[in-house]
Assembly symmetry: C2
Homo-oligomer: 97 residues x 2
Amino acid sequence: MSKCNGFAKQARVLKALANESRLIIVDRLSRGECTVGDLTELVGSDASTVSKHLALLRAHGIVEDRRAGNLVYYRLLTPCVCKFFSCATQVLEERSR
Amino acid sequence: MSKCNGFAKQARVLKALANESRLIIVDRLSRGECTVGDLTELVGSDASTVSKHLALLRAHGIVEDRRAGNLVYYRLLTPCVCKFFSCATQVLEERSR
DNA sequence: GGCGTATTTGGCCAAATGGCCATATACTGC
DNA sequence: GCAGTATATGGCCATTTGGCCAAATACGCC
């Protein structure tokens, strides 16, 4: 396993999550799979924009998709990313101290 | 406390960490405080660049600085960010599967 | 004060980001 | 095949990012 430059790879993963819309998506998916349409409505951006966010999350191994007829369902592949929420909250509390 | 739009705030925290140089810095600081000079040598970028990274981390409540004479020591304020490393690794493993 | 060292700030610039619109593709049902 | 719905892709553009260099600031020492 490549041990050198692991930070670059890890940075890419973090970057994939470091976006408000994508956090909304991940948070929603942490409670069960849903369709692109559901996520689009939730995020409030253009469907094309949400689709790009999903493609990016998929490319980084964070979500997975499954087509069912006319719909495409996405689900969270690495639930550990939810740890980020609690830590980010803690950082925010630290700052406001 | 503002509960709405918490995702935007969390995204800002993640973004603060989503950079190779800053991950190197955080990883180093997780093993104890050190000076800007130490970090500059470790990261391998210009001192001014490292200083800006540190300012950004400080602005987000992730690190804290302490001046001792001619030197400025930085230390990690929110060690929970280290959780990110293990999760990022897990995501990377998932992708390579 | 003046010099040397450590750190920060400002200016600049190429590259990446994230949004929208328009268009293309995938599927269902007729 | 054609029409309608769901999702993805390409083009475009304003903003942000992250690096370097040069200059400014902070401190210790003589």
